[in-house]
C-alpha cells in the first residue's frame, strides 16, 4: 500500500466531511445546540432546583456531563450515517471505489469526520453549559479519552447503519427506535442507583451507561460503574465495530454489485 497516497486521500475525505457539516451548519450544529440548551434550562435550572442532589452533586452539575455525552453520541452517529448514506445514495461512493483509496482509508476518513462533528457539537454544548453552571474537570485524560472513544464508537455505528440502509427511512429508524431510548435510559438524566434492583441490573446491559458514567467520572469524579469496565466496553465496541465495518467494506457486497 502506498502510504503517501493513502494519507493524502484520508486528509481529503476529512476535509470534505468537515466542509460538509460546516456548510450546512444550520442543520448540523445549531439544532443540537438549541435542544441541549433547552435541556439545561428545563432539567437543570427549572426542575433541577427541585430535584436537589443526584449522585452527591447538584442536579445541574450531574446532568451536564450526560448531556454533553448525548450531543457527542447523536452527532457523531448522525454525521456518518447521513453523509455516508448520501454518498452511497448518489452513487458518489464510486469516486472512492474507482480511486486508489484503500477501504481502510475510506472508513478512517468518514469516522474522523464523525468524530470531529461530535467534538464540535460537544464543544458548543460545553460552552453553553458554562452559562448555567461551573464546570471543573476532575481528570482531563479520562474526560478526553472517554469522549474520543465514544465519538469513535458511534461514528462506527453510524457507518454500519449507512452500509445496511437502503432508504432514507432506514437511516432514521435506528436513531429513533434504538439510539434515543438507549441514550435516555443510559444514565444521562439519573443515577442508576435510583432504579429498583432489577432495572438497575438491566441498565448494565446498555453500553451507553458505561460511556456516560466514564465521562462523568472524568469531570465529577463519580460514576455508577467502574472505570475499568467502561474502558473495556469502549475498546470492545471500537475494535468489534471497526472489524465488522472493514469486513463489510472489503467484502463489498453492499457497495459493489
Amino acid at each position: 500500500m502506498n502510504m503517501a497516497i493513502q494519507w493524502v486521500s484520508f486528509k481529503t475525505i476529512v476535509v470534505k466531511e468537515v466542509r460538509r457539516f460546516m456548510r450546512i451548519w444550520v442543520q448540523t450544529l445549531v439544532p443540537p445546540a438549541i435542544t441541549i440548551a433547552l435541556y439545561f434550562v428545563i432539567f437543570g435550572s427549572l426542575i433541577g432546583s427541585r430535584i436537589g442532589q443526584m449522585g452527591g452533586y447538584d442536579y445541574m452539575q450531574f446532568v451536564v456531563p450526560g448531556l454533553i455525552m448525548m450531543a457527542v453520541i447523536q452527532n457523531s452517529y448522525g454525521n456518518v450515517v447521513s453523509s455516508f448514506y448520501g454518498t452511497k445514495f448518489q452513487g458518489n461512493i464510486e469516486e472512492l471505489l474507482v480511486s486508489p483509496t484503500a477501504e481502510v482509508t475510506i472508513l478512517l476518513g468518514y469516522l474522523a469526520g464523525g468524530v470531529l462533528r461530535g467534538l464540535a457539537v460537544g464543544g458548543i454544548v460545553t460552552v453553553l453549559a458554562l452559562f448555567f453552571t461551573d464546570l471543573s474537570v476532575e481528570s482531563w485524560p479520562i474526560t478526553i479519552s472517554m469522549v474520543l472513544m465514544t465519538a469513535v464508537v458511534f461514528s462506527i455505528a453510524g457507518f454500519l447503519n449507512a452500509m445496511y440502509a437502503n432508504s432514507f427511512d432506514d437511516i432514521s429508524i435506528i436513531p429513533t427506535f434504538v439510539l434515543t431510548p438507549m441514550i435516555y435510559l443510559g444514565g444521562v438524566f439519573y443515577s442508576v442507583d435510583l432504579l429498583p434492583d432489577f432495572w438497575a441490573k438491566v441498565s448494565l446491559a446498555n453500553p451507553i451507561l458505561y460511556m456516560v458514567n466514564g465521562f462523568r467520572y472524568g469531570i465529577l469524579g463519580v460514576s455508577d460503574v467502574s472505570l475499568g469496565v467502561s474502558y473495556f466496553m469502549l475498546t470492545l465496541f471500537m475494535l468489534g465495530g471497526f472489524g465488522f465495518a472493514m469486513y463489510l467494506l472489503t467484502r463489498g457486497e453492499k457497495l459493489r454489485s
Partner: protein, 332 residues
C-alpha cells in the same frame, strides 16, 4: 507496443442469477482509441464496471497497464480515469471542489489538485462554472464535468461509458474533438457506445459485444472493408411498373417513383450494371441515396446472422442501431 488493457475470460453473474458476461477477452494496445460497441443491455457497462472495480467479477482477470486489478489494485487504479454512464458526482458540491477532492483521492497535493482542476475545467469550458453547485449544471455540462474529473490525475487509460448519450450534436462533436486531442497526447481511450457514427469517426479498433459475448474484435478499417452489401434508394422521373426487369438484383418498388435495390459487391454486381439495366427498362433516375448507415446494416447482420429484418424498418435516428433505438432514451 505495450498493452493498456488485457481482459481474459471475464464472466459476471449478478446477484439475481443473471449472467451479464459470458467470458470476454479483450486486448487494447497503448495509445489506442478503442470502441466497445453494442446495443443496450449487451454488457458494456458491466465490463467497464469490473475494470473500474465498481462491479465485482465472477471469473477471469483484468490487467491495466500491466497491473492486475486484484494484486496491484492501487497501481492499476492510479493509471485509470473513469467517466461513468450515470452522473455520480456530489450534487451539492461546487464544480471546482469536486475536481480538487478527486485529485486528493489519487494522492495529489492540494496545490497540484487545484492547478489540475483549473487546467481541465478550462479545457472543458467549465471554468466559468467553477463555483456553481453541480446539481444546477445542464446535462451537457455535467457530462463535461465528469470528463474533467476523470482527467485530474492524468491517467494513462481513460474509459468512458456512453459519454455522448443524451448530448446534442454540437456538443457531441466538440467532445469528440477533445477526446481525439487527449488521445493524440498519448492517453489510451476506451469508450462504449451504441452510436455507430461515434465509433466510426473516433476509433481505430473496435469490439462488438452482444448478450455478454464479444462477437467481433478487429480494426475499424477491416470492419468497414467487410461491408459488401448496400441498399440504395432511387427516385425516378417516370412511374414504375411491376414487374421490373433487373436480372441479378433484388429490387423492390416502394411507390410509383421510388425504387429500392440491394447491391452486393461480392456477386459481381455494380452500379454501372444497374444503370445499364435501368436504361434498358426505360427508367430515368433523378436522384439516389444510401438507405442507411453501412455500419448499421452490418451491425444488424452480425447480431442476427442470416436475418436482415433491420432493413425494413430503419431506425428513426440513423445513428442508432435498431435494437438500441427503442430504449436509447433511457441511456442517459
Amino acid at each position: 507496443m505495450s498493452v493498456a488493457l488485457e481482459i481474459k475470460g471475464l464472466k459476471k453473474t449478478y446477484a439475481d442469477g443473471f449472467q451479464a458476461l459470458k467470458g470476454i477477452d479483450l486486448h487494447v494496445r497503448q495509445g489506442d482509441f478503442f470502441a466497445l460497441l453494442g446495443p443496450n443491455g449487451a454488457g458494456k457497462s458491466t465490463t467497464l464496471g469490473i475494470l473500474t472495480s465498481v462491479v465485482s467479477k465472477s471469473a477471469g482477470s483484468v490487467c491495466i497497464m500491466g497491473h492486475d486489478i486484484d494484486q496491484d489494485f492501487q497501481q492499476a487504479k492510479q493509471c485509470l480515469g473513469v467517466v461513468p454512464q450515470e452522473f455520480n458526482f456530489n450534487q451539492f458540491e461546487k464544480v471546482f471542489d469536486i475536481l480538487v477532492t478527486q485529485g486528493g483521492y489519487y494522492g495529489l497535493s492540494r496545490a497540484l489538485a487545484k492547478q489540475r482542476a483549473e487546467k481541465y475545467l478550462r479545457k472543458l469550458d467549465l471554468w466559468d462554472k467553477r463555483d456553481t453547485i453541480s446539481r444546477t449544471l445542464s446535462g451537457g455540462m455535467k457530462r463535461r464535468l465528469m470528463i474533467a474529473r476523470a482527467l485530474v490525475h492524468e491517467p494513462q487509460l481513460l474509459v468512458l461509458d456512453e459519454p455522448t448519450a443524451g448530448v446534442d450534436i454540437e456538443l457531441r462533436r466538440s467532445m469528440w474533438e477533445f477526446l481525439t486531442e487527449v488521445n493524440d497526447e498519448g492517453t489510451t481511450i476506451i469508450l462504449t457506445t451504441h452510436y455507430l457514427e461515434e465509433a466510426e469517426s473516433l476509433c481505430r479498433n473496435i469490439a462488438i459485444i452482444d448478450e455478454g459475448q464479444i462477437i467481433e474484435n478487429t480494426s475499424m478499417k477491416s470492419l468497414l472493408r467487410k461491408l459488401t452489401r448496400e441498399i440504395f434508394i432511387f427516385d425516378t422521373r417516370n412511374a414504375l411498373q411491376a414487374p421490373l426487369e433487373l436480372p441479378g438484383f433484388t429490387a423492390r418498388i416502394m411507390d410509383d417513383n421510388m425504387l429500392e435495390v440491394e447491391i452486393e459487391v461480392g456477386k459481381e454486381q455494380s452500379l454501372n450494371k444497374l444503370f445499364t439495366l435501368f436504361d434498358g427498362a426505360g427508367i430515368e433516375v433523378t436522384s439516389m441515396r444510401n438507405k442507411s448507415n453501412r455500419l448499421e446494416e452490418m451491425f444488424v447482420n452480425l447480431l442476427k446472422p442470416g436475418n436482415i429484418v433491420g432493413y425494413d424498418k430503419p431506425a428513426e435516428d440513423p445513428m442508432v442501431v435498431p435494437n438500441a433505438a427503442a430504449s436509447s432514451g433511457a441511456a442517459s
